[in-house]
Subunit: 167 residues, 3 copies
């Protein structure tokens, strides 16, 4: 692969300082939320971090609960999806220490609590995807599956999990 | 690993030419469908291609929408699952150029829009699994989770995502 | 990485004999259940085993079917989640021969058949997570997504898939 002496150059040219960028954008990575059960927020294997599903939890409370399109508007669900991403990044930072280590947001799983006639799952999960690209640029561009589920833990309206590669 | 000079031999002995096989079977890989949001159809990490969830989209239109067992018959849902696979392969070909590079269809996620009393999700997703084995032989044999979801993007009746390894 | 001569020491100090531990706990790994379709119970890529979704199947019969919170109690669903784990381990043992080869339960996907007002998915899937930690200790600690689905194959109340790393 590349030799050690050209690494820093590649780094300075191509890479955003993600931690600074989050601050510049006015975002705050919250305290990592406690898992809702006996599992880890993140499990690393090789250079992949498998991130547990996170809920739109703020200060221990679900920000938006219920079914999107029935109890929760599209805009509220989009706000919830963004909160999920901040919680996800919080869990990752707790594991790897520095978000600058992220190489790629590889995959996002977006679960939207929804009724049988709902079809705007991408509109909801786009709020999460857009936020990742806003922060991480091309590094944040990911594959994704967005689906409509019957219900979610603690009646959250959205849940998001992820696979993230890092160095 | 193996030296370069025995690669072609291994290749000729064990491997089907998948691109030819698709033509021989009379199948056509369609134009890659546009993503339904701000994400990538495929994100590669190492030798793994994480494929975004695809819908039964033909020429920009969902072929079968609604709930399987209510609005959509089992046979229609099976046809939709096959269309998903062609779209998935189209996305993969757009990324890696040549489907002969596929080493293994590692995992399929099959999401079937269904009601609470439905139980034939495997019948639907088998249409996708069988198609992959028909084209790729043992290379196409994969692990899988098939579940029944409340609804899917654009009211599609099926969505399929995948992890595929390639060289 | 580590040299060959310190491997056994690390092994004896840190590692539980998982096969013995399963027996000591009085658990029995059942015969691997037949797949409900044309897929593999497990597909290995590198050192990762992608495990297909398993159902709470005992001797070919679903132990608990229906919707959790409606047809199935929380306790019954928890029992079903544990049966899923035994089936998962059975499938893995059939593939890799010896469960002592497990390095990490990397990720669990927990699908709970549930109604729109259900929120106790973690309570159900914790039964699976706790069982894995009981058997495998820290090796069994995993990331996880628990969601509520509309329905599952053969009307099972729970389905669990997994990614497991091994040597």
């Amino acid at each position: 692969m590349s030799s050690w002496w050209n690494r820093p150059i590649i780094c300075f040219v191509n890479k955003i300082n993600f931690e600074s960028r989050i601050l510049d954008l006015g975002y705050i990575i919250p305290e990592a939320p406690a898992p809702q059960g006996s599992y880890l927020p993140c499990r690393v294997v090789g250079n992949l971090a498998f991130m547990s599903g996170v809920l739109p939890m703020e200060a221990g409370v679900i920000s938006h609960s219920g079914i999107v399109g029935v109890d929760v508007t599209l805009d509220e669900a989009r706000a919830a999806a963004r909160i999920c991403i901040f919680n996800l990044l919080s869990n990752l930072k707790a594991e790897i220490g520095d978000l600058n280590r992220i190489e790629a947001i590889v995959r996002l799983g977006g679960f939207v609590a929804s009724a049988a006639d709902f079809g705007d799952h991408p509109v909801v999960i786009n709020a999460a995807s857009d936020l990742l690209v806003e922060i991480f640029g091309d590094v944040g561009r990911h594959s994704r599956a967005a689906v409509g589920v019957a219900s979610l833990p603690r009646n959250a309206c959205v849940e998001i999990d992820a696979i993230i590669s890092f160095i």
